[in-house]
């Protein structure tokens, strides 16, 4: 077999290992999916009435409009939430003796990380499906065409790929799983300081500047446009661009940290 064939085979083996871990430890997946669902229910049923009325445009919005408004933020939060699990499982692997065992075997080095990335992508897809399901049950309405749905799924895949590589890097950089579990909290909070839950126009000047230009805002705006059936080209380009940057930085950082570990 060629080197590339071994890399694929070893990655598949590592993916199977990670999927078994997910199956053995379902409470983690449930927790990670539960977090965005909790926010969804909280924001729709507790804050939704008031917040919906405050949405710009006439006539005044309601709970249903607010659900539509926050769905992109909740999707973002779902991807971020699953990435906590990724950072923790990477950090756990690295602090465990098993990583040294893998490193003394003649396997494709990258497979340890690709196994985690692929596993996390599957976990994210599952989480997004559940979140979408619940949002539709709550009455989410969308005007997206089939092509726009395809675009939405593509962008979500790109986002979760990027976020996963970035959190693999966080996991590698953390001295232990406990530290690793702290970092991605920032990603869960970022949608709040962006266009996730309120229009950025409603924020005070300084904060608004940050909210408008932070990477999650164009990504959430692109989701919103696609769901509404009126995608904005500029949002989509910014969103895809940010995903590529986050993913590339995450990948190069992870690769560097992984190699550095081998030298000590």
């Amino acid at each position: 077999m060629s080197t590339a064939a071994y890399a694929v085979r070893d990655s598949a083996t590592m993916l199977r290992r990670n999927l078994k871990h997910l199956a053995r430890y379902p409470s983690q997946t449930l927790m990670l999916i539960g977090l965005p669902l909790l926010f969804l229910l909280l924001f729709v049923y507790v804050f939704g009435g008031t917040m919906g009325a405050g949405l710009p445009g006439a006539p005044a919005g309601d709970r249903g409009d607010y659900l539509t408004f926050i769905t992109p933020g909740i999707l973002m939060m779902t991807v971020a939430s699953v990435s906590i699990g990724t950072a923790v499982s990477v950090a756990t692997d690295m602090t465990n003796g098993i990583i040294d065992r893998f490193r003394t075997m003649a396997i494709a080095k990258v497979s340890v990380l690709t196994g985690h990335v692929l596993g996390a992508m599957i976990q994210t897809a599952l989480a997004l499906a559940v979140v979408f399901g619940v949002a539709f049950l709550l009455g989410l309405e969308t005007a997206a065409s089939a092509m726009q749905w395809l675009g939405l799924v593509g962008l979500l895949a790109l986002l979760s790929f990027a976020m996963t590589w970035f959190t693999v890097g966080l996991g590698l950089a953390s001295p232990n799983p406990e530290t690793a579990s702290n970092w991605p909290m920032i990603f869960i909070l970022l949608p709040f300081v962006g266009s996730g839950f309120v229009p950025v126009e409603s924020m005070p000047a300084g904060l608004r500047g940050f909210a408008e230009h932070q990477p999650f805002t164009p990504i959430m705006d692109a989701f919103r446009g696609l769901l509404a059936g009126s995608p904005d080209g500029s949002d989509a380009i910014w969103a895809a661009g940010w995903c590529v940057v986050i993913g590339l930085v995450g990948y190069l950082w992870s690769r560097r940290l992984y190699r550095l570990r081998a030298a000590n």
């Binding site: 077999m1 071994y6 078994k20 871990h21 430890y25 098993i98 065992r101 490193r103 075997m105």
Partner: protein
């Protein structure tokens, strides 16, 4: 095809962390099909040496060839020939014993049929059949060690590294593990192991290297090394410090310890010398007596002039 007769060949191996030289110029040769034990206290550089030889760590200087390949330039070829069981458990605790072995078979690129046969055979050989479908997290320390070693053997390596394989095991598990190592050797596998226990090296190894402060201070068969050890010790517990001094005056080779109220002197283990010794001592001066057979401390005392310590002594680069 070339015939290899040397499994491990190391010359001038060095590794430092900052100013601290952990491996300070080690040379050693391990012929194929033999057992080599690296004996030393914590911090002597045993684990670092194993990590370098098993491609986990690059050396700062020196040559190391393992299974006929350079550990640095041909790391993947070395990896394909070796099996490593580290000091800390390297099993996947969320997987069952059987799944752990299967994981190793898949990563060793064994075909499905062979993977199953090898897995079942190893489960039987390591007495893990009953626990095969339980998660490794539920295993006892001894079982984890056995699974760990079984995982190392899945791909059928001809050379295995065992870093302190019995540290933390109860005496029975230790004996079981020794039995397994002997079976491996009978199959012609080369074993490179590290240990803190002279007895373990004595039981298993063809050759023993004594490592202290990153240097091999002695090397030879168990019998050769034992000749270097001046027998055991007799330790007297003495009633008070005056009598410690008095006893030390009477026994010129003794070393008194006034604070611990003990007097220690070398002893060859014979009853005759013990009787003669006791005849010359007042009954009420001595409150207790212990006869100690040679142990790692004695080897170290003899070879380095220092007892074993938990911290490795500061080393100066040569």
């Amino acid at each position: 095809m070339t015939t290899r007769t040397t499994a491990i060949e190391v010359a001038g191996l060095r590794k430092s962390y900052g100013d601290h030289e952990v491996v300070a110029g080690v040379d050693l040769t391990v012929p194929e099909g033999t057992v080599y034990a690296l004996l030393g206290p914590n911090g002597a550089g045993k684990t670092t040496t194993v990590r370098i030889l098993s491609t986990l760590l690059p050396a700062d200087a020196g040559e190391a060839r393992v299974a006929g390949h350079d550990v640095r330039r041909e790391a993947d070829r070395v990896r394909a020939s070796i099996g490593v069981t580290g000091q800390f458990s390297a099993v996947d605790e969320l997987l069952t014993g059987r799944e752990n072995l299967r994981l190793m078979a898949d990563l060793g690129h064994l075909d499905r049929c062979r993977a199953e046969t090898v897995g079942e055979r190893l489960l039987e050989r390591f007495d893990l059949v009953d626990a095969a479908d339980r998660r490794a997290a539920t295993y006892s320390g001894g079982m984890k060690r056995r699974l760990d070693l079984a995982m190392t053997l899945v791909a059928g390596p001809r050379l295995i590294f065992l870093d302190e394989p019995t540290t933390g095991l109860d005496p029975r598990s230790r004996r079981d593990l020794w039995g397994i190592v002997r079976e491996l050797v009978a199959d012609g596998v080369t074993v490179f192991l590290t240990t803190q226990y002279l007895e373990e090296a004595d039981q298993l190894a063809d050759r023993i290297g004594v490592l202290d402060g990153g240097r091999l201070v002695a090397e030879g068969t168990a019998a050769e090394l034992k000749r270097l050890v001046p027998g055991g010790h007799i330790e007297f517990q003495v009633a008070d410090s005056e009598r410690v001094a008095e006893l030390a005056r009477r026994l010129p080779e003794a070393s008194p310890n006034p604070r611990a109220l003990t007097v220690t002197l070398p002893h060859d283990g014979s009853l005759t010398t013990l009787r003669r010794l006791l005849d010359g001592i007042d009954d009420d001066a001595v409150t207790g007596l212990a006869v100690r057979t040679p142990d790692l401390d004695d080897v170290f005392l003899a070879l380095t002039g220092q007892p074993t310590t938990d911290e490795s002594p500061e080393e100066v680069a040569v």
